[in-house]
């Protein structure tokens, strides 16, 4: 092969590479734009009359009530597991009286909203994506549209609002059960002092710590519901694609919840600093 031929081949390969990267960037920007429009339309549509209160309640029942059992179960075991690890660490520095408040703070501010978000994203978010995806491939969404009904308003808005409303309640339940689990392990199993556990916990844990977690929970609800409904709503193809949309929706929701949690943590901390709130 001559040098000219090699040069031509290298140039062609580079051209193809740049074109592929450019296509990816364009597709990424397009998807972001579509996602933003979709989210905005869904929010605006919810406030249009006549309100879809019945649909909202149905979805709240699905996202909220049907997640309670799994939230209670994971909350209890998370509270116990975290307490045990912290107990082992604090025992080395003779600070076991601080296990209760440390666990309570960690649960209320971080673990409660994040784990609730991840669990409900997997359960309800996955169901949302799969449901809308199968409706799309079986032309049910097209049918809704040609019957003169806005499918975003009918299918998406109530799901997103239901997730935003119910997530703080689920997180509140998670926090409470995790604290009870922590109490059970620390006091009933490990033999720590009951009065000290509650005294230190109530002394440290302020209502704004709990609120911080509840606000995060609402944001996480918005994230997983929007991402999963978006993935489901724009599914193309057949059953295989529904599975893929569900998978992508859940994975992306989980990753976003963890990333957004980090930024919210910093933002809230910054807010506390500038307002001297919480110090």
């Amino acid at each position: 092969m001559s040098i000219t031929q090699i040069r031509t081949k290298v140039n062609d390969t580079l051209d193809e590479l740049f074109k592929s990267v450019a296509d990816l960037v364009v597709e990424f920007i397009y998807q972001i734009g579509l996602f933003m429009t979709f989210s905005w339309e869904a929010i605006v549509a919810f406030f249009k009359r006549p309100y879809r209160t019945k649909d909202l309640i149905q979805h709240m029942e699905f996202v909220g009530n049907k997640s309670v059992f799994i939230i209670v179960l994971t909350g209890a075991f998370t509270g116990m597991a975290v307490s045990f690890q912290i107990y082992l660490g604090f025992k080395m520095i003779n600070a076991t009286n601080l296990v209760g408040p440390t666990v309570a703070m960690g649960i209320a501010r971080e673990l409660g909203p994040v784990l609730s978000g991840l669990i409900v994203a997997a359960r309800a978010g996955g169901a949302m994506a799969a449901n809308l995806g199968s409706m799309r491939v079986s032309e049910q969404i097209d049918a809704i549209e040609v019957m003169g009904v806005d499918p975003v308003r009918y299918l998406v808005s109530p799901r997103i609002v239901a997730a935003v409303i119910t997530m703080p309640f689920l997180t509140g339940i998670f926090d409470f059960v995790a604290l009870v689990g922590s109490y059970f392990l620390c006091v009933e199993v490990l033999g720590l002092d009951k009065a000290t556990f509650w005294e230190k916990t109530t002394l440290w844990l302020e209502p704004f710590h709990i609120n911080e977690g509840l606000i995060k929970a609402a944001v996480f609800g918005f994230i997983f519901a929007t991402v999963c409904t978006y993935r489901g709503f724009y599914t193309k193809g057949g059953a295989r694609d529904v599975g893929e949309a569900t998978n992508k929706g859940v994975v992306l929701s989980m990753v976003l919840i963890i990333i957004v949690d980090f930024f919210m943590m910093n933002l809230i901390d910054f807010y506390y600093k500038i307002t001297s709130y919480g110090n």
Binding site: E139, Q140, A143, E145, V146, M147, G148, V149, D150
Partner: protein, 258 residues
């Protein structure tokens, strides 16, 4: 063209559609769907029939060209106007597209609940019953879910839902695909009966079944490569010398004798 003599329910002018910017699924398509007639759009698979239908229903935006439904340009309609116009359509999808989580009756009630808030629930149910009966579905099936009834019944339920708002244009997307010959004939008869039931209504059927097209169609449009290859009354298709149409007609006629 023969359509020029009729008033048009749907007018399509120079319609072009590309999904990737290069390949055109529809390539300068011109079409008039006559008012008050049964028009059947036929063609081999991949000729753009379903894409054309989605454009007419406003589910896809054209890359170029105009579509007028009952004289109104779809591109110039606001969101609310488009919704109003869509209520003039009744659509029976290929696999009926019934809502899985609703009973047969609730499926038919859906468009009534959404658009006829002025009616009492009792009246809405009366209308739903009437449409289900018109579509030939027995009352014992009304409480069943779509998964609990047969393919033919699902088509009937889909048709009843399409009829719920008394549409001016009834659209059938591949209504007989996947059905056995008996059910195919039943659906074809249902299309004609439904069309005759409401005077002045227009019917648009997208199909690849030429035999059925000749049986039910007043006006037939054949698509090829995203364009209209031939359109006119059924007789035109037997007289033409266009090789592709002759081949398609021969295949259809041969199939109908099997």
């Amino acid at each position: 063209m023969a359509t020029k003599a009729y008033d048009s329910a749907v007018e399509v002018e120079n319609l072009k559609k590309t999904f990737n910017g290069k390949d055109y699924v529809l390539n300068g398509l011109n079409l008039n769907v006559p008012k008050g007639k049964i028009t059947v759009i036929i063609g081999f698979s991949g000729t753009g029939k379903s894409v054309l239908l989605k454009h007419i229903l406003g589910l896809l935006e054209p890359s170029e060209g105009t579509i007028k439904v009952l004289g109104r340009d779809l591109a110039k309609l606001s969101h609310d106007e488009r919704i109003q116009l869509r209520m003039k359509f009744g659509v029976l999808f290929q696999y009926a597209a019934l809502f899985d989580d609703m009973s047969v009756l609730d499926n038919v009630l859906f468009p009534l609940k959404e658009h006829r808030r002025d009616l009492s629930m009792v009246r809405k149910k009366e209308i739903a019953y009437e449409k289900l009966k018109q579509a030939g579905l027995e009352e014992k099936h009304y409480a069943k879910l779509p998964s609990e009834i047969s393919g033919g019944m699902r088509k009937r339920c889909g048709l009843a839902r399409a009829l719920a708002l008394d549409p001016d244009i009834l659209v059938y997307d591949e209504p007989t695909t996947g059905l056995d010959p008996v059910l195919t004939e039943m659906v074809d008869n249902l299309i004609v009966e439904t069309h005759n039931h409401k005077k002045g209504s227009s019917t648009l059927v997208v199909s690849h079944d030429l035999h059925a097209a000749f049986r039910i169609g007043d006006y037939i449009v054949m698509l090829d490569s995203g364009k209209v290859l031939l359109d006119g009354p059924p007789e035109v298709f037997f007289q033409t010398e266009i090789p592709l149409v002759k081949k398609f007609v021969n295949m259809g006629v041969h199939k109908s004798h099997e």
